[in-house]
C-alpha cells in the first residue's frame, strides 16, 4: 500500500472509532443533566436513580471518547504535516479554541460532577453536569466548523509568498452554509444515538426486571426512561432528516461530485427528470432527485470530472444548472494552476498518474455509505416507534430472544449510521483534503516513512480492539446490575467514606 493509503486508513480507523463515543457523550451528557434536573425539580427518587445509573454508563463511554480524542488532535501534524502547514492559519484556530473553551470546561466539570455529589450543594452540583454538557456542545461547534471548512473552504485567501491558505474572515468561516447545516445534522444524529441508547437499555431492563418481579417503583423508572429515550430518538430522527436534506442541498452546490457519486448519476439531466436509484441502475420516480435537491439540473460524475480537468475545481449553481467558480480560495487555486500550466490530474496524482486515474471520489463507497447512513438511521427511528407502541399504556413486553436481540441492536444502529455518515462525508470529498484546493496526497507528511505509519496503524487497531472489548464488557456488566438501590446524597464529614471514589 502507498503511504497515503495507509495514512488514510489510519485516519479512518481512529476517527470512526472516536466517533462511536462522541455522539453518546454529546447526547448522554444532556440527557443525564435532564434526568438530574427532573430529580431536583420533582424530588422523585426514580430520577436520581436513573441519573446515577445512566450517568455511570455515560462515564464508561466518556473515558474512551477522551483518550481517543487526544489522537485526533495530534495526528494532523503527525500524518498530515503539509496539510497542517497549508491550513494552520484557519484550521488551527478552531482546534485551539475547542481545547481552550470546550475541553477545559467539559473535563473540569465532569470531574466536579463525578466526585462532587457529597461536596457541592444540589444546585451547584446540577450546574456542573450542565456545564460539562455545554462543553461537549461547544466542542462540537468548533470541530464541525473545522470539518465544514475542509468541505467548503470559505473565508480564506491564498498567500503565494507563504504558499498557504490564510484566514480572511472568521465570520465567513462560521457562516459557512455547509457548517450551518452540518452542525445541526451532527447534533441531531448524536441525539438519535443517545435516545436509542437510553431507550433500548431501559426497555431491556424493564422486560427483564418485570419478569424477575422487581418493585413497581423500579418498573416505573425504567418506563420513564424508555419513553424519554424513544421520544428523543424519534424527534432527533425527524431533525436529522430535515437537517440532512438542507445539508444535501448545500453539498449539491459546493461538492457536486460528492452528491453525484452518492446518487450514481452517470448522465446529466437538464429536464427535471433525474430518477432516484435505490440500487445502482434501478431507476425509480423520475424527477425525484430534482425535487430533493431543488434543481432541474443534475450533472453527472463524468461531466463534472471533465469540467474539473479542463477548468479546475468548480462549484455548481443549482438554479442555472451551470458550473460556477468556487469560493475565493478555490478560484485562486484554479487560476494558479492555469498560470503555472499544471493539470489537475497531475496535481491530484503526484508523480504516478496511473495510481489514481480519477479526479472524483470512489463512487461505490459514496453511493452505498450514503444509503446505509440513511437506511440504518431510519431503521433506528422505526425501532423508537416500536418501543413506544410496546410500552404504551401500562404494557410491558414479554421477555424473548427476539426482544433481547432488539435491545442489543437498537443502540448499534445509530452508531453504524453515524459511521457511514462520516465515511460518506470524508471519502466523498476525495481526492481532496481541502475541497478543490489541496489534493489529499499533497497533505501527507513527507518525513514519515511507510514503516512508522504501518506500525502505528497496527498498534492503534489492536489496542482499540482490546479496549472495545473491555468497554463493552463493562457496559454490559453495569447494565445488567440495573438501577442502583435508593441512594441518599448528603454532604459528608471529614472521616466518612466519600460517596464516590475510583
Amino acid at each position: 500500500m502507498s503511504p497515503d493509503t495507509i495514512a488514510r486508513w489510519q485516519f479512518g480507523i481512529t476517527t470512526v472509532y472516536h466517533f462511536l463515543f462522541v455522539p453518546i457523550t454529546i447526547s448522554m451528557s444532556v440527557l443525564t443533566a435532564v434526568l438530574q434536573s427532573a430529580w431536583r425539580k420533582t424530588g422523585k427518587d426514580a430520577y436520581l436513580r436513573l441519573t446515577k445509573f445512566f450517568g455511570r454508563l455515560f462515564l464508561i463511554n466518556f473515558a474512551m471518547g477522551v483518550v481517543t480524542g487526544i489522537v485526533q488532535e495530534f495526528q494532523f501534524g503527525m500524518n498530515w504535516s503539509e496539510y497542517s502547514r497549508f491550513v494552520g492559519d484557519i484550521f488551527g484556530a478552531p482546534l485551539a479554541l475547542e481545547a481552550l473553551i470546550a475541553f477545559f470546561l467539559e473535563s473540569t466539570f465532569i470531574g466536579l460532577w463525578i466526585f462532587g455529589w457529597d461536596r457541592l450543594s444540589k444546585g451547584v452540583h446540577l450546574a456542573t453536569i450542565w456545564l460539562a454538557a455545554i462543553g461537549t456542545f461547544v466542542s462540537s461547534i468548533f470541530i464541525i466548523a473545522a470539518n465544514a471548512w475542509m468541505q467548503n473552504p470559505v473565508g480564506a485567501v491564498y498567500d503565494p509568498a507563504k504558499g498557504r491558505a490564510q484566514l480572511d474572515s472568521l465570520l465567513a468561516v462560521l457562516a459557512n452554509p455547509v457548517f450551518l447545516t452540518q452542525w445541526p445534522h451532527t447534533i441531531a444524529a448524536a441525539f438519535l444515538t443517545g435516545g436509542a441508547f437510553l431507550a433500548a437499555i431501559a426497555l431491556y431492563l424493564l422486560v427483564k426486571k418485570n419478569k424477575e418481579g422487581a418493585p413497581a417503583a423500579d418498573l416505573t423508572a425504567y418506563r420513564k426512561a424508555v419513553k424519554l429515550g424513544a421520544w428523543v430518538l424519534i424527534v432527533a430522527g425527524v431533525g436529522s432528516v430535515i437537517t440532512g436534506d438542507l445539508l444535501g442541498k448545500e453539498m449539491v452546490q459546493t461538492q457536486p461530485t460528492k452528491m453525484a457519486a452518492a446518487e450514481n448519476i452517470q448522465e446529466s439531466f437538464a429536464d427535471g427528470q433525474a430518477p432516484f436509484q435505490l440500487l445502482p441502475g434501478v431507476d425509480l420516480f423520475p424527477g425525484f432527485l430534482n425535487w430533493l435537491y431543488g434543481t432541474d439540473h443534475i450533472q453527472s460524475v463524468p461531466d463534472l470530472e471533465k469540467q474539473f480537468l479542463e477548468n479546475g475545481y468548480m462549484q455548481f449553481n443549482s438554479s442555472t444548472g451551470k458550473p460556477v467558480e468556487g469560493n475565493t480560495l478555490q478560484t485562486e487555486f484554479a487560476s494558479s494552476l492555469k498560470d503555472n500550466n499544471i493539470s489537475l490530474i497531475q496535481l491530484v496524482c503526484g508523480t504516478d498518474p496511473t495510481a489514481c486515474p480519477n479526479a472524483v471520489p470512489n463512487q461505490g463507497v459514496a453511493f452505498w455509505s450514503f444509503r446505509l447512513m440513511i437506511g440504518v438511521g431510519m431503521l433506528a427511528v422505526l425501532g423508537g416507534i416500536l418501543m413506544l407502541i410496546w410500552t404504551r399504556k401500562d404494557k410491558i413486553p414479554n421477555p424473548s430472544a427476539g426482544m433481547t436481540l432488539f435491545a442489543v441492536l437498537m443502540p448499534l444502529l445509530p452508531l453504524i449510521a453515524n459511521s457511514f455518515g462520516w465515511i460518506f462525508t470524508e471519502m466523498g470529498r476525495q481526492p481532496w483534503i481541502v475541497n478543490g484546493v489541496m489534493p489529499t496526497l499533497q497533505g501527507l507528511s513527507p518525513s514519515v516513512g511507510v514503516g512508522p505509519v504501518w506500525f502505528s496503524v497496527i498498534v492503534y487497531t489492536l489496542l482499540y480492539g482490546v479496549l472495545a472489548v473491555v468497554e463493552v464488557k463493562l457496559l454490559l456488566k453495569y447494565i445488567k446490575l440495573g438501577l442502583p438501590d435508593e441512594v441518599t446524597v448528603s454532604v459528608k464529614e471529614e472521616a466518612e467514606p466519600l460517596s464516590f471514589a475510583y
Partner: protein, 367 residues
C-alpha cells in the same frame, strides 16, 4: 552592545506573545499533569493494598482529565499560532509522539476502569498499566525538550508537488543522545517527586508518611539530574540568534530550579507538605522557562545546517489576523479556565484523604 539587542529580522510582538502563551500552556501542563504523572507512576509503590492504592489514585481522581487538557491546548495553540512549528515538529517526532499517545490512552482508561471490577487481578493489571502509561509521556517529553534545547536538525525538502518545505532531518534513535536521556530521566524523577509531594499534601496516615519518605529520596535524585542538565545544557548549547540576555535567563531559571528542588527536599524533611509541593511546582515552572529561553528565535530547531528556508518564530507563524483573533480569545478564556480550575482544587476538593474515606467496594461497583 546592550544585552537587550534585537536581531535583524525581529519577530513581531504578536509572535513573541504567542511564544509566551505556548510556554504558559506547557508550564500549565507540566505543573499540573506533572504531579498526576507522578501519582500514576507511584500507585503500585505507595499503596500496599487496594485501599491504599485507591487513596493514592483518588488524590488526582477529579483532576487528571482537566490537567491533560493543557497538553491539548498547547498542541492546538502551536497548530493555530505556529503551523510550521506544529507541522515540522509533530511529523518529525512521529514515533516519540505515538508513544506519548499510547501512554495517555492507557492511563486515561486505567483511571476510569480500574475501580469498575472487584477483582484483584483486574485491579493489579490496571495499576501497572496506569504506572507505565504515566511513565512513558514524561520520559518522552524530557528527551524531547532536551533535544529542542540542543536544536532539532532540519533541512529543506522538495515535495512531489514541487513545494519547498523544511523538515526534520534526524532519525528516531538520534534523539537519544546522553544529554537528552538525562532530560528524560530528569522529567521522570521530577514528576515522581512532584507526585509524591502532592500525595503527601493530599493524604493522611500511612500513605502520607510513605509518600514523604519516597519524595525525600526522589528529590535528591531529581536535584542531581537537574544540576547535570542545567549545567550541560547551558554550557554546551546555544542556537544561532539566541539573545545574550535570554542565555542569562536560561542560566538563572535553571539554577533557581535546582534551588527549588533543594528547598522542596528540605521542607519535606521538615514535614511541611505544602511548601515541598510548591518547591517542585516552582522547579517545574523554572525548568520549562529555561527551555523556552532557548527557543527564541529558533523554536527548538537547529537551522545552522539548514540550507533552505529557516524555520523559526517568524517563518513558522500564522498571519497577524489569526494571531490577533487568537490573542483576544486567549485573554478572555485563560483567566476563566484558571478561575474554575482553582475553584476545583482549592475549594471543592480541598480535603486530605485516607483509607477511611474510601467507600467500600459495593458502593462503587454495585451501587
Amino acid at each position: 552592545m546592550t544585552i537587550f539587542d534585537i536581531p535583524a529580522s525581529a519577530p513581531s510582538a504578536l509572535q513573541v506573545v504567542w511564544l509566551l502563551l505556548v510556554a504558559v500552556l506547557w508550564i500549565g501542563f507540566f505543573f499540573l499533569e506533572g504531579f498526576d504523572f507522578g501519582v500514576g507512576m507511584l500507585v503500585p509503590f505507595l499503596g500496599k493494598n487496594d485501599q491504599g492504592r485507591r487513596v493514592v489514585i483518588n488524590t488526582v481522581g477529579p483532576h487528571w482529565d482537566g490537567n491533560e487538557v493543557w497538553l491539548l491546548t498547547a498542541g492546538g495553540a502551536m497548530f493555530a499560532a505556529f503551523p510550521g512549528w506544529y507541522a515540522t515538529l509533530f511529523s518529525g517526532l512521529y514515533l516519540p509522539l505515538f508513544l506519548v499517545l499510547l501512554g495517555l490512552i492507557l492511563r486515561g482508561v486505567a483511571f476510569e476502569y480500574r475501580s469498575k471490577v472487584d477483582s484483584k487481578a483486574w485491579r493489579t493489571r490496571w495499576d501497572w498499566i496506569l504506572a507505565i502509561g504515566s511513565f512513558i509521556p514524561p520520559l518522552v517529553f524530557g528527551v524531547g525538550f532536551a533535544n529542542f534545547l540542543k536544536g532539532l536538525p532540519v533541512g529543506p525538502h522538495t515535495t512531489a508537488f514541487g513545494t519547498e518545505v523544511t523538515l526534520y532531518t534526524g532519525t528516531f534513535w538520534g534523539l537519544f543522545m546522553p544529554f537528552c536521556l538525562i532530560g528524560g530521566l530528569l522529567f521522570v524523577a521530577l514528576f515522581l517527586t512532584h507526585g509524591a509531594f502532592f500525595v503527601g499534601l493530599k493524604t493522611r496516615g500511612e500513605i502520607h508518611d510513605r509518600a514523604q519518605k519516597f519524595g525525600g529520596t526522589l528529590a535528591l535524585i531529581t536535584g542531581v539530574l537537574a544540576l547535570a542538565l542545567v549545567i550541560w545544557g547551558n554550557m554546551a548549547y546555544s542556537l544561532p540568534g539566541q539573545l545574550s540576555w535570554l542565555r542569562l535567563v536560561a542560566w538563572i531559571t535553571g539554577i533557581v530550579a535546582i534551588v527549588c528542588i533543594a528547598f522542596a527536599w528540605f521542607m519535606n524533611s521538615k514535614d511541611r507538605d505544602g511548601w515541598a509541593f510548591i518547591g517542585t511546582a516552582l522547579a517545574t515552572v523554572m525548568l520549562v522557562v529555561m527551555f523556552f529561553a532557548h527557543f527564541y528565535p529558533g523554536i527548538g530547531f537547529d537551522n545552522s545546517v539548514n540550507t533552505g528556508l529557516p524555520i523559526d518564530l517568524t517563518t513558522a507563524s500564522s498571519s497577524p489576523h489569526t494571531l490577533t483573533l487568537m490573542t483576544i480569545a486567549a485573554c478572555i478564556m485563560v483567566p476563566i479556565v484558571l478561575i474554575y480550575t482553582v475553584w476545583s482544587y482549592f475549594f471543592v476538593f480541598r480535603r486530605r484523604l485516607d483509607t477511611k474515606n474510601i467507600p467500600s467496594l459495593d458502593v462503587t461497583t454495585a451501587a
